[in-house]
C-alpha cells in the first residue's frame, strides 16, 4: 500500500509541477537574457560614476597638512571615488552634512604631520551623514587603510630617528633626516600605492560577488517554488486521509511519500534552473555558470534540504495560506541571516556569527565553487 501511495503521489505532483518548471525555464532564459542585455541602458552611462563629496577641515596655514592632503587627494583610490571640498570649520562641515551637501567630513588637526613625526597619536576625526550604506563601508575601508599608511610612515620615521640617535648624529642632522624621510613618504611612498595590486572589496567572502548572489538566488527560487507543493500536501479530502488510516498508512508514511515526490520535482526544478543559467552564461557572458557533474550532484544536497523544509512545513495544520506564509517569512529571515540579501560584512554583529555558521550560507558558497568557473 505504501508503494502504491508513493506512486500515486508522484502522479499527483505532476499536476502542480509541470507548468511551474516550464515557466521557470522560459522566464530564466528569456527574461534574464533580456535584462542583462538592457541593464547597461537601465542604470549606467558612459560617464564615470558619481563621486562622493568629502569635506576636509584643516588649517590653511599648515603647509605640511596641505601637502598631506594634496598627496592623499592625488591617490587613485580617493580620486576615483571622492571629491574633496575644503571647509573652513567643523561647524560648517556639520551643517553641510545635515543638509546632505557632504557625504562625510574629515577634520585634520593642525599639527598632524608634526605629531606623526614626534610620536603624538592625534586622531583624525571622520564624520558621516549616512552610516548604513555600502558607500559608508567603502569609505570607512579607505580611511582605515590611509590611517594605517600614516602609521607605517610614523614607524619608518621613528626607525630613522632611532638610527640617527644611536649613531649620535648632531641634532640638526637628525632633524634634517626626519624632514627628509617625511617628505619622502609624502612625495614618493604614498604616490607608489598604485604599483601594488588593488584588491576588490568583497563583502560576501565569495570569490566573486555576482557568483555568490547567483547561487543564493538558486536556493531562494527553489524554496519559493516549494510553496506550490503545500497545496499538494494539504488539499486532500479528510475522508481520503481517514481511508489511508484504515489501511495502516499513518502520518509518517504520508510524510515520507510526500517528501519523495517533492524531492523528485524540486531536483528537476534545480536542473532546469542550472541549465537556464548555463544558457544565459553562453548567450550573454555576464554569468559564470558552467555545467559539470559536481554541480548536478551537489544539487541533490540542496534539493534534499529544501524538500525536507517544505515537507515539514506542509504538514503543519495551519492551512495552505498559513503554511505558505510560514515558509516564506521563515525562509526570508534565514536568507537574511545567511547573507543572501545584505553582504555578510554589513550584517549586525550577532548576525555575522550566525551567517558564518549558517547551512544556507555554506551551501551557497559550495555551490559557487562548484558551478561558477572563470
Amino acid at each position: 500500500m505504501f508503494l502504491r501511495l508513493v506512486r500515486t503521489d508522484l502522479k499527483r505532483i505532476k499536476y502542480y509541477s509541470l507548468y511551474m518548471i516550464l515557466s521557470a525555464f522560459l522566464l530564466l532564459t528569456i527574461c534574464l537574457c533580456l535584462v542583462i542585455k538592457v541593464s547597461d541602458h537601465l542604470y549606467s552611462t558612459n560617464d564615470r560614476t558619481t563621486t562622493l563629496s568629502i569635506g576636509i577641515v584643516m588649517s590653511a596655514d599648515s603647509n605640511l597638512s596641505q601637502m598631506a592632503y594634496a598627496a592623499i587627494a592625488d591617490m587613485n583610490s580617493y580620486r576615483s571615488s571622492c571629491d574633496f571640498v575644503e571647509v573652513d570649520s567643523v561647524q560648517t562641515a556639520m551643517s553641510m552634512l545635515d543638509e546632505g551637501t557632504l557625504f562625510a567630513a574629515i577634520y585634520v588637526p593642525d599639527n598632524i604631520i608634526n605629531d606623526i613625526m614626534d610620536g603624538t597619536n592625534t586622531p583624525v576625526e571622520v564624520y558621516y551623514s549616512d552610516t548604513g550604506s555600502i558607500n559608508t563601508f567603502i569609505l570607512n575601508d579607505l580611511f582605515r587603510s590611509t590611517s594605517s599608511m600614516l602609521g607605517i610612515s610614523q614607524a619608518a620615521i621613528y626607525s630613522v630617528q632611532s638610527i640617527g640617535r644611536s649613531m649620535n648624529l648632531p641634532q640638526n642632522i637628525q632633524n634634517a633626516l626626519s624632514n627628509d624621510i617625511n617628505s619622502m613618504f609624502l612625495k614618493c611612498v604614498l604616490d607608489r600605492t598604485d604599483n601594488f595590486v588593488i584588491q576588490q572589496i568583497n563583502a560576501t567572502r565569495a570569490a566573486n560577488t555576482t557568483d555568490f548572489y547567483t547561487c543564493a538566488a538558486i536556493v531562494l527560487l527553489m524554496t519559493m517554488c516549494g510553496t506550490v507543493y503545500i497545496s499538494f500536501v494539504q488539499n486532500v479530502p479528510k475522508s481520503y486521509v481517514d481511508r489511508l488510516h484504515s489501511v495502516h498508512i499513518r502520518l509518517p508514511h504520508r510524510m515520507i511519500s510526500s517528501f519523495i515526490s517533492i524531492f523528485v520535482w524540486e531536483y528537476i526544478l534545480y536542473v532546469v534552473i542550472y541549465l537556464a543559467l548555463a544558457c544565459v552564461t553562453v548567450f550573454t557572458g555576464s554569468l559564470h555558470v558552467h555545467l559539470n557533474s559536481c554541480g548536478f550532484l551537489f544539487g541533490l544536497a540542496i534539493t534534499g534540504l529544501v524538500s525536507l523544509t517544505v515537507t515539514l512545513i506542509s504538514f503543519i495544520p495551519a492551512g495552505v495560506h498559513g503554511c505558505s506564509l510560514l515558509l516564506i517569512t521563515g525562509f526570508i529571515v534565514a536568507a537574511y541571516l545567511s547573507g543572501f540579501f545584505v553582504p555578510e560584512t554589513m550584517l549586525p554583529n550577532f548576525a555575522k556569527s550566525i551567517c558564518r555558521s549558517s547551512l544556507l550560507n555554506h551551501m551557497a558558497h559550495t555551490l559557487c565553487k562548484l558551478i561558477c568557473i572563470h
Partner: protein, 233 residues
C-alpha cells in the same frame, strides 16, 4: 440477475452497547442492533445526531469508549464516507489503482468489470476526477468501495446532493447487492433511501430506537412523507 457480491456465511452481525463521547459531549449512548446477511438497515437522524460517528466506529476508523461489535465469523466492512475520498488531480482509474493492488489489466477482471458496468463507471475511467459530476464521483467512490467485496457495506449519506436518476441507479445497485447476500447499514436522512431498508432505526440525542421493522416481511413498506417526518421529530 448478475451477482454483485460473493456470498459469505455469517449468521448475524451484532452491535452491543456502544458508547462514544467527544470530551463531555456524549454522542452515542448504549447503541445496540443486529444486521443479518442480505439485510439493509437504515440509521435515521438529523445532522449531528451521531450517524457518521457510529459508522466510523463500525468500520474501525474510530475507537469506541466501550461496547463491541462483530459476528461469529470474521466479516469485512467497507465504509463509503459522505465526502468522496477521491484525489481530484488523478483519473478515475488512478484513484482505483491506489486502493487496489495490481496493474490496470489485473484490476479490470470479470468481477470488477461487472461492478464498473453496473454502476456506469466504465464510461469515464480515464477522465480526471476534477472533471466528473457529483453523481459520477459518488458512483466511482461506491465502485472503489465495492471492489473489496465487503460483507457489510457502511454508507454515510450516499444519496446527498444527487439527482433523482442517479439516486435511482445507486439504490437499484444496492438492492442487487443486498439480494446477493451483502448487508448494508445506511446512515441517511433521505426518504428515498429508506425504501430498500428492512429496518429503520432513529438516532436521537445519542440513543438508538427501532422505528420500523419489516425484516419478517418480503417487501419493504414504503414510508409516506408524513410517516417519514414523524420519525425525525
Amino acid at each position: 440477475m448478475n451477482e454483485v457480491h460473493t456470498q459469505k456465511r455469517f449468521d448475524r452481525f451484532s452491535v452491543d452497547s456502544i458508547y462514544k463521547s467527544y470530551g463531555r459531549h456524549q454522542v452515542l449512548t448504549d447503541i445496540s442492533f443486529d444486521v443479518s446477511p442480505g439485510q439493509c438497515v437504515a440509521l435515521l437522524g438529523i445532522n449531528g445526531s451521531g450517524k457518521s460517528t457510529l459508522l466510523n466506529i463500525l468500520s474501525g476508523n474510530l475507537k469506541q469508549d466501550s461496547g463491541s461489535y462483530g459476528s461469529d465469523v470474521p466479516v469485512t466492512t467497507a465504509l463509503l464516507p459522505q465526502d468522496n475520498p477521491l484525489l481530484p488531480e488523478l483519473t478515475a482509474m488512478d484513484n482505483i489503482m491506489l486502493w487496489h493492488p495490481g496493474s490496470r489489466k489485473k484490476i479490470m477482471n470479470k468481477h470488477n468489470a461487472e461492478i464498473f458496468s453496473q454502476l456506469g463507471v466504465d464510461s469515464f475511467l480515464d477522465k480526471k476526477v476534477s472533471k466528473l459530476s457529483g453523481g459520477m464521483k459518488k458512483r466511482l467512490s461506491l465502485a472503489i468501495t465495492m471492489l473489496s467485496d465487503p460483507d457489510i457495506l457502511l454508507l454515510d449519506e450516499p444519496l446527498a446532493s444527487l439527482d433523482l436518476l442517479c439516486k435511482k441507479g445507486i439504490l437499484a445497485y444496492l438492492q442487487k447487492y443486498a439480494v446477493s447476500g451483502g448487508s448494508i447499514i445506511i446512515a441517511t436522512h433521505e426518504a428515498s433511501a429508506l425504501d430498500i431498508c428492512q429496518k429503520i432505526y432513529t438516532l436521537r440525542q445519542g440513543h438508538l430506537d427501532i422505528a420500523v421493522d419489516n425484516s419478517s416481511q418480503e417487501t419493504t413498506h414504503k414510508l409516506s412523507s408524513d410517516e417519514y417526518a414523524s420519525l425525525l421529530i
